[in-house]
Symmetry: C3
Subunit: 343 residues, 3 copies
């Protein structure tokens, strides 16, 4: 087993609405998985490799809720048990595949990559607004060729925004603070009387021309589950009291391997507050994450190579005020990974 | 020298009709070769590297049956002897290139990759139907990113067909048997009263609507020279006595390296039995080999990486009835390679 | 530090006219650089990596002659000193970047990759004709996937021309000589009464139909700075006395790494001697360098892999008369690199 990932934790295998009748392949912490729905619709996760000739099961078909290998036809249920051998009455005793606990919650497929006996659904980090009828979300996925902690750094330190995301406001220079609650890190930004940008104009046209009070809160939970919540107030709304127009944006990172990350992002508004079209909404935030963040993160990855541990990097990186939350998150994760492997 | 390939054997460098007036490059068991025709039309094979500045000779031109290096103009004949130096009367004594025995037989260019003194044309595995006027063949070539033994496994175990090749009949569930004659392995399939498929309908429209008795025989000769012969009988033809409409399909595998194989395939019918157009014939079988087999084999290769030795693989692969012939072929080849290197 | 490149020397980072208002990235001897112009227009060169989060500075913008990191906004001047931190009054003491001496001379950006104290502008190899009003040049750049010494070999041994460059004359079989002056190697070619080619017809239509006396002189200076000068005489002009129509062609090689080279080439005529259009001129020489030389050199690189040292190569390459100058240049460079690392 690798020591560089937290194993006993839930990772996202994607948006639930993307998992239909067909099997899907995804590699998580260097383990190839096939994800599919059983007859009752519940998602299943197996090692994506037939024990017969090692074909990827994800090239197969779902037959009565089991996955049938596309090579020689062995079928496996969601527990990884072989349920049908088309070539004999007998099912070989070793014909089984490793299965992983899976849960569909808040519109997300969650997979537990550690010891099955420790999988506790109650500990899944919740994103209830994703399935709240009062909200409207747009969704995206991009595979970023960068270590997941570099991407978490990027989100915990939004001070990159005025430089990397001009559409979010080149004049957004907020006050920054941070705090820790248990293993959760918050990185908060307050920009009172901020001049609106393409971002606010697009999401809330009713703010156009007015000065905006902005409060942006980034939350990180281990190993790399994040959410950005931005309150945008006009006419004296108290954004620190969560008044103002809300943009709730889950950003969920799933490590593929040490240099590649599945980046699932969503961006939501309250239906009562915004009439933005999904197309305009998607274009606005997709540009930021996929055309601005991703290339920069990939550029950083090219420079650092396998030296992605910023806490131990030599030479020591120059530290700016915006890095304080990153450092805390990295320390917490390092401790958790260490504990995970000594338990 | 590498120990993982049989050296003292004939490998196919391609279909003879593809070798015209120009030199062709092909890498066989990790050795780059240039193949060209001498003035008398006979094929020649040299190490594809000029001894002067190491340019690939295959970038050169054929001049009077010799290959002229495209960089500085040294010429070499099919024995690898330098025949002309444009820059001096003198030909440097070390200006020669390794040559390999070559034979054109049955429409195939065969190259001997071992000790030249052991090259025996009489031992070339014959495919006489390829040049038999009573037959009509379509030809294909695809470079498959998989170890050659994985491809041989695929052909020796046709029980993958109903799952991977729906066009060959999703209801084709034959009886399987195998036998060894010397170093030849046969893997035979009998499917009496098989309902015709897109495959039989296309090749022999006269069978449409009738029940078909099918006898399919796969032959493997070391290192990886194969042929599929299918007899398809209607109206009481005894396919076990080789009555019925014949599809003869040489499948000739030439290892490029440990993870890539030159896959030369042909598919033939008897002119007297079929009026299928070459275009329809090619589309039918090309789909199966290039769009169905190749991606699955490449998927398996991705999973097994360098662990392609199924006899020694850990964990041990689950064995199904269809694997018996594969195992025999792998054992024979392993013995031959061992003997080849201790001779 | 690597020992395989000469460090204390000037390398070309490109044509000066290609460096405008935006930063450019180039990797030289395995070091990524960002090149940009300060407010006074003078070129600057820094290590292309921000000391904060290791982002490539070349993704940033030039602000008042400094480069502003595109990630979090730190600014650096051409000395690598941080001049502005948008997030604090304080500039971290370690916030600086390695800078490299740069000079713009003869239309070329030159960067010194060794110890800064040894950088001596007076030692830059001059190409004065590039900025001489009496000349007209066309310029090109191609990244060749080959070691720079293989490319220098190619230029020092023009005897490849009749085979690789038919447009330069398939009948051009000159007398060859060479000489050394200090660390400069000359490789000279004399072809009296040479029948004109596509090359001479295009550059000097007035020579069409006449026999041409050709004198071609290739000059190499370490590490890999080259120039081809060709004199083409008709009607009794004495080309050995530098009479005749001149083609002056700087070929400047900058190693990116051991298997990739930045190849900057220019080709010039005297305005008084030629009315060739730039488009025709560029097509003629671009074809030779990019479509004929580059693929052959890449083919050689594939064959030799990391064994690019022809002086020590096993097996020993066959030597032809044209190789004498190559061998001298390689010996000189080897000595210089050794001295560079024992100083």
């Amino acid at each position: 087993m690798k020591t560089k990932y937290l194993r006993n934790t839930w990772y996202s295998a994607g948006w639930a609405h993307d998992l239909g009748d067909e099997a899907r392949a995804i590699e998580i912490i260097e383990t190839p998985l096939v994800i599919f729905r059983a007859s009752d619709g519940k998602p299943q996760a197996l090692h994506d490799q037939c024990p017969h000739r090692f074909a990827p099961l994800s090239r197969g078909k779902i037959i009565e809720g089991d996955i049938r290998c596309g090579y020689h036809g062995l079928r496996f249920n969601g527990k990884g048990v072989c349920t049908h051998n088309p070539w004999s009455e007998r099912i070989p005793s070793s014909a089984n595949v490793q299965s992983f606990p899976v849960v569909e919650l808040d519109g997300i497929i969650w997979v537990w990559m550690g010891e099955a006996s420790k999988a506790d659904e109650a500990k899944i980090r919740r994103y209830p607004e994703l399935v709240d009828k009062n909200y409207r979300f747009v969704f995206g996925y991009t595979c970023v060729a960068a270590h997941y902690e570099l991407i978490a750094d990027n989100l915990l330190d939004l001070l990159h925004s005025p430089f990397l995301h001009p559409g979010f406001g080149e004049d957004w220079f907020p006050e920054h603070s941070w705090r820790i609650e248990g293993t959760t890190v918050y990185s908060d930004y307050v920009a009172p009387s901020f001049q609106g940008s393409e971002y606010t104009d697009t999401l809330w046209p009713q703010t156009d021309g007015k000065m905006i009070d902005n409060f942006e809160s980034v939350r990180w939970d281990p190993p790399c589950l994040m959410e950005l919540r931005g309150y945008n107030g006009v006419d004296g709304m108290n954004v620190m009291e969560e008044e103002g127009f809300l943009n709730a944006a889950p950003h969920i990172l799933t490590p593929q391997n040490a240099a590649s990350t599945h980046y699932f992002w969503a961006s939501g508004i309250r239906k009562s507050e915004s009439t933005v079209s999904d197309a305009d909404h998607l274009a606005l935030v997709g540009t930021a994450f996929e055309l601005e963040d991703a290339p920069m993160l990939q550029g950083v990855q090219e420079r650092v190579g396998s030296n992605t541990d910023m806490l131990a990097h030599k030479p020591k990186p120059v530290t700016l005020p915006g890095d304080v939350a990153n450092v805390q998150a990295r320390r917490i994760l390092k401790k958790l990974i260490k504990a995970d492997f000594t338990k």
